[in-house]
């Protein structure tokens, strides 16, 4: 059984028939584009500037101000659509989505409705070594809302706040909505789907998808059904999540809740839920029944957008290499396993780092091992993005070369790597300063070998009795005695001579 295709959850109380359930998940992703200006006005899109310093009569919704579409935003949106194998529709209409909220000064959001930018695509993503396909329903363009800060009460939370403050710098930022079909079979697959979709958008260079800054947010729709059924159950919606981990946790909590309700004879209500990471539970948001009636109608202030076929083909021809293609290339060009190619090739920054190390004259395999091993562990521990920090591709390449040409052993190499970070020095300086050079000189190693043979009589006897694999243990002891500096091949030869002779 494949856990990703059929993560059936088997439950059945005593006396009740055993019934297996499967979750059905659909996702929506919102991406703020990295255009220079807003979607419908020429105000600069910025991060971290003082509040309300990038506004104009359009994004503040002063009467009579008319929106004009940002060309670059259309291009970026179309690039996303093409990367998701969608058909870019020749005729686009913007609609007004009406609702009242203080982050929306016009009392409507300009969005797209029944004539969106692009429809009917798909996205292939990997869960472990299994490729899954999710159909993409649509990609459309809209504008982001302003930023609300809730003051008083419980630090930034809506509940108990005394009043709210609105910063319109973000209001009107180009926002792309990507809507999947309900093809995602598990919370883990949902997380993978979103991570890989984020990598894809970053690759296109249309958004940095910075999660701390809220440049991407997700909604998940989830329902359960008897395993193998093709019907869809009533879904609930988990709104506005901006962490992969919370999204998975929320789904992990919501799916068993739905199964429990149904097995107890209850009904799932179509509702919007809030996930509380502190308690790990989902609770309904205040009923917004009326708020869901958005009364869409065509935006009279924007004329239709007619998308030129030749322009779309021009975009298609100038798309960058996408992660899926790069993973394939890494596997064939560098002779990497699929798993390694996925680790190194999925995300733009790490892939670029790896290729730079290789381009500096390091073998593809050792470069892969060091990038995935020490370097990736370092990035994770330090919370750094690939390409940042003291360990540049150039420094890692120098280190790997020192190991490859036998100047230092692999274990000394790991030591040098750690010291590169703590001492912020060049690898060759560290080798010099700490005397980490590999000892290949037999006369220097003979003492250590003799000591290890003398101190490990039992293992020596085992070896002589025919247990060849004990040699590895003895080599390890010599390595330990020399602080990892001994050349293991030379040690191995010396040991054989000492033991077999």
């Amino acid at each position: 059984m494949n856990s990703h295709r059929r993560p059936a959850i088997e439950r059945g109380a005593e006396g009740a028939p055993l019934c297996a359930w499967e979750p059905v998940i659909g996702l929506e992703m919102h991406v703020e584009l990295d255009t220079r200006t807003k979607m419908f006005c020429a105000c600069e899109v910025t991060k971290g500037d003082a509040p309300n310093t990038h506004t104009c009569p359009k994004c503040l919704a002063h009467p009579g101000a008319l929106p004009v579409v940002n060309q670059r935003a259309i291009e970026y949106a179309a690039r996303i659509a093409l990367a998701l194998n969608c058909s870019v529709r020749p005729r686009n209409i913007f609609h007004r989505k009406n609702y009242f909220y203080p982050d929306l000064p016009k009392a409507y959001q300009i969005s797209q409705y029944d004539e969106p930018l692009a429809v009917e695509g798909w996205f292939d993503y990997w869960v472990d070594d299994e490729k899954l396909r999710c159909r993409i329903n649509r990609v459309h363009m809209e504008e982001d809302a302003a930023k609300l800060v809730h003051a008083g009460g419980d630090a930034g939370r809506i509940a108990g706040s005394d009043y709210s403050m609105v910063d319109f710098n973000r209001g009107g930022t180009p926002l792309i909505e990507i809507v999947s079909e309900p093809d995602i079979p598990s919370p883990e697959a949902a997380r993978e789907f979103l991570q890989q979709l984020r990598n894809l958008v970053i690759e296109l260079g249309v958004s940095a998808c910075n999660m701390e800054e809220g440049q991407i947010r997700w909604d998940a729709n989830v329902s359960v059904r008897p395993e193998g059924s093709s019907d869809l159950g009533t879904r609930t919606e988990l709104k506005n999540m901006n962490s992969f981990r919370y999204l998975q946790q929320a789904l992990d909590a919501e799916i068993p809740r739905q199964i429990e309700v149904i097995e107890a004879g209850g009904k799932i209500d179509l509702e919007t839920l809030h996930f509380d990471p502190d308690t790990g539970t989902t609770t309904p948001l205040r009923s917004k029944e009326e708020a869901h009636d958005y009364r869409y109608f065509p935006e009279p202030d924007l004329v239709p957008l007619v998308i030129d076929r030749a322009w779309v083909e021009e975009l298609r021809a100038t798309q960058p290499e996408l992660p899926a293609a790069r993973v394939e290339r890494f596997a064939s060009q560098y002779g990497l396993s699929r798993a390694d190619a996925l680790v190194l090739g999925s995300a733009h920054a790490l892939a670029a780092f790896y290729e730079e190390v290789v381009s500096l004259g390091v073998g593809a395999k050792p470069a892969a091992n060091w990038t995935m091993g020490e370097y990736l562990a370092h990035l994770n521990a330090a919370g750094l993005e690939a390409g940042h920090g003291h360990v540049t591709a150039e420094r890692l390449a120098k280190l790997v070369k020192l190991v490859a040409d036998g100047t230092i052993s692999t274990s000394s190499g790991k030591d040098v790597f750690a010291r590169m970070i703590s001492e912020r020095a060049e690898p060759e300086e560290i080798v010099e300063k700490h005397g980490l050079g590999q000892i290949s000189d037999t006369s220097e190693l003979e003492d250590a070998v003799a000591r290890v043979v003398a101190d490990n009589a039992a293992q020596v006897e085992q070896y002589r009795g025919g247990k060849q694999q004990v040699l590895g243990f003895l080599v390890g002891q010599v390595m330990k005695a020399t602080g990892g500096r001994a050349n293991p091949q030379v040690v191995s030869e010396l040991l054989r001579t000492a033991l077999d002779g």
């Binding site: 309300n52 506004t55 009406n98 009242f100």
Partner: protein, 93 residues
């Protein structure tokens, strides 16, 4: 037909507070307006594409080039209340 419940619902969506006599009057007036609109349904428009815009113009766009907007002082000039350089609004939720 439009009933009083419909009127109250639409009024709520539009954030309008209507008194009971206004609800009753609006129900009557809206019913008349809808009946008038319904007359158009008598026309055969099977071959007419939906018209989102009356202008025969498409693709009004602009290059992605920033232009200065309002100073913060000007932006906040119309705000009924200001706090920490932001528009201050009543508590939400």
């Amino acid at each position: 037909m439009i009933g009083e419940d419909d009127v109250r619902y639409v009024a709520k969506l539009a954030r309008l507070r209507l008194e009971q006599d206004e609800v009753a009057r609006m129900a009557g007036e809206l019913a008349k307006i809808l009946a008038h609109i319904d007359k158009m349904s008598e026309l055969d428009v099977a071959d007419v594409p939906p018209t989102a815009h009356v202008l025969d113009v498409v693709n009004v766009t602009r290059p992605d080039k920033p232009r200065p907007g309002l100073s913060r002082e000007d932006a906040l000039r119309n705000a009924p209340a200001v706090s920490d350089d932001c528009f201050r609004v009543p508590r939400m939720g």
